[in-house]
């Protein structure tokens, strides 16, 4: 294998760099910008630039893309979070068109002032109805990222504490930074370690917010919500759960991992994004009505952003309706079957980590392989998501297959076949 990497270094020198190397530079000149562009040009020159590749149609299981050099590829997609296929569901599209006709293209105003339309109120109510609890509300944000950013920074102030699972998404960390609270981390899903972290701070006199996720997209595993909530409540800490990859999917009725562990009413804030299983864009906070009322004013990422665009909002109302109906039940059953099937094709042959959900990582290890593997997979017929160092540990870089309810058995077979072919070529089969 060392000969392989020697050759790779000589022929494709961009593989020697990782993105953290360009994240900052000392000095008056912004040298990181020039160096990053040098690297990007090296990747482009080698025709290995697989980031931000334009898709030529909707996020269906079969897509077409156009690479930088103009080449078109028809692929099976495992890279979209369109878990239930709602982004192109005909009823969702029609609802979006109806809202577009009625309200126009943009909301053109802050939701608190002049950007709220009736369709926004319909979406808030449909989310509240989906959960079915009295005294709760939903407040909408124009991006999923903006939900945690706004909510955490409005709830936590200087000298308060935010304690995050180490594997938390950037929106949680960025919300914590913006809050100016003190940030601590606990080991991924480790409630015992969380307790040690809480015990180290003045928990009797401090406001504490514990942040975690329903499903973690790095490993495709469930958050250990039952134990984490128990520990947090023991010390009077509030809990925020990000259900970005789990709302409409996990739990008997699709109410997320909080439903699965029966902790919905023990969790203080559930945040969700509409850009995954809902098939749109934006996000929401679901919490007690008093809290959502407060966030409408004090979550700055909401207050100072334009409201969700009406067409998407109209489509989202329909998506929530479908997810709460028999359609949702059928698709939830199917996505689990599809995920189990793909895992069954891969787990004995490649390292899929601790995945138990619709996110199936395939660990190829060495970060130098990232772009060559991605390029190879596209040229062999599948599009798949990358995750490399420093987002994951050294030698644990991975591709991630996002399985949807809409994949067919044939598409899953083809996906596994191509992945295993890549594993053989790049030496990440289990027995190699």
């Amino acid at each position: 294998m060392s000969d392989f990497f020697e050759k790779l270094k000589k022929e494709e020198p961009y593989t020697e760099y990782t993105l953290d190397m360009f994240s900052k530079s000392a000095g008056k000149e912004a040298s990181e910008v020039g160096q990053f562009n040098n690297w990007r040009n090296m990747v482009s020159d080698a025709d290995k630039y697989t980031f931000e590749v334009p898709h030529l149609g909707a996020q269906k299981p079969e897509i077409s893309i156009k690479r930088e050099n103009g080449d078109r590829y028809d692929l099976i997609s495992f890279s979209s979070y369109n878990y239930l296929g709602y982004s192109y569901h005909p009823d969702v599209i029609q609802a979006g068109k109806d809202a577009l006709d009625k309200y126009g293209l943009g909301a053109t105003g802050s939701p608190l002032l002049n950007g709220t339309f009736e369709v926004h109120k319909e979406l808030e109510q449909s989310i509240v109805d989906f959960y079915g609890l009295d005294g709760y509300g939903a407040t909408l944000f124009s991006s999923g990222y903006g939900v945690s950013l706004g909510v955490i920074s409005a709830f936590i102030h200087k000298n308060d504490h935010v304690i995050c699972d180490r594997s938390s998404h950037a929106c949680i960390f960025d919300g914590a930074i913006l809050s100016q609270g003190k940030i601590s981390l606990f080991k991924h899903n480790d409630a015992e370690h969380l307790e040690k972290v809480i015990q180290r701070i003045d928990h009797k006199n401090s406001r504490i917010l514990v942040c975690c996720e329903g499903v973690y997209s790095t490993d495709g595993d469930y958050g250990n919500l039952k134990d984490i909530v128990t520990v947090a409540k023991k010390y009077g800490a509030a809990v925020l759960v990000d259900e970005a990859h789990s709302l409409l999917l996990a739990g008997k009725n699709g109410k997320g991992v909080c439903e699965h562990y029966d902790v919905i009413e023990d969790v203080d804030m559930i945040v969700a994004t509409f850009s995954k299983s809902f098939g749109g864009v934006g996000g929401c906070l679901y919490a007690k009505k008093e809290l959502t009322n407060y966030m409408n004013y004090y979550a700055r990422s909401r207050m100072f952003s334009c409201a969700l665009d009406p067409a998407v909002t109209g489509g989202l109302v329909k998506a929530v309706e479908l997810a709460g109906s028999e359609d949702g039940d059928i698709k939830r059953k199917r996505i689990i079957e599809n995920s189990d099937y793909l895992r069954s094709l891969l787990q004995d042959k490649v390292d899929i980590g601790t995945s138990t959900t619709w996110i199936v990582p395939i660990i190829y290890g060495d970060e130098r392989l990232t772009l060559p593997v991605s390029d190879y997979l596209q040229k062999e017929g599948i599009d798949i998501s990358l995750m490399t160092f420093p987002a994951v540990s050294k030698n644990r870089s991975r591709i991630r297959a996002f399985v949807t309810s809409e994949h067919t058995k044939e598409q899953l077979d083809k996906g596994a076949e191509v992945i295993l072919k890549a594993a053989k070529k790049y030496n990440f089969l289990k027995d190699s």
């Binding site: 953290d20 360009f22 530079s25 000392a26 000095g27 050294k394």
Partner: protein
């Protein structure tokens, strides 16, 4: 890269190197970072301290007999106008079993000298070190990966130091097989000690990354004379 010997380049030959990057709250290290630099963080509020133990055989540095070195630095923003290093470090402490080495390092590299090590044990089989000085044990540090997979390469680093009020920077290249890993495990213990600026690490400090050279196999360090930043 070709390195041409000159008075601005010293070549160091070592036969043991164990480096661990430990996570540490940024608030504990900020005061040691020059104002021109900023800490590299692995998560918000979580920076990195780098501790390296070296063994230099006789002749590894000029005429000096065999000696051991312990160096501690904070991982900081690199100067990318000079190239793209694997990382940049701001050195905060240097200790050694050789006074002559310390004197030379202060004069040539402007490194911040902590003092002599009174005890420096290296266990090549376990890839472990145990270093002490007159204030007691500084640290124990060991490889925490079950397997070692060395990669033969040259790696580029940058090293900052203070020369009076001036910040300096030096290019440094390690030419040696190295194994880099991020296996989570017990990488040793760091005591609250003046060498480590009395930083209070966890009882079990969290290693972020380890870099290990094959014990007994010679590697070279091309360490250029620092220039004013």
């Amino acid at each position: 890269m070709k390195h041409t010997p000159s008075e601005d380049l010293l070549v160091w030959e070592f036969d043991f190197a164990l480096t661990t990057f430990f996570e540490v709250e940024t608030s504990q290290i900020e005061k040691y970072i020059p104002k021109q630099l900023s800490p590299m963080e692995v998560s918000p509020g979580l920076g990195l301290i780098n501790v390296t133990g070296f063994n230099f055989p006789a002749g590894g540095l000029g005429h000096l007999p065999e000696f051991q070195e312990l160096i501690c630095s904070i991982i900081v923003s690199p100067d990318l106008s000079r190239g793209v290093p694997k990382f940049a470090m701001h050195v905060i402490s240097l200790a050694s079993t050789s006074q002559e080495h310390l004197d030379h390092s202060a004069e040539y590299y402007k490194l911040p000298i902590h003092g002599l090590l009174t005890d420096a044990k290296i266990d090549r089989d376990k890839v472990a070190i145990d270093y002490s000085d007159n204030d007691g044990q500084i640290l124990q540090m060991s490889n925490c990966s079950p397997k070692l997979d060395y990669r033969n390469d040259e790696r580029y680093f940058q090293a900052y130091t203070m020369d009076g009020d001036d910040l300096t920077i030096a290019n440094c290249y390690i030419e040696s097989p190295l194994f880099e890993h991020q296996v989570v495990g017990n990488a040793g213990s760091l005591n609250v000690h003046p060498f480590l600026k009395n930083i209070d690490f966890d009882v079990e400090p969290t290693p972020y990354l380890q870099m290990i050279s094959p014990p007994g196999q010679k590697g070279r360090q091309f360490y250029y004379r620092p220039e004013k930043f």
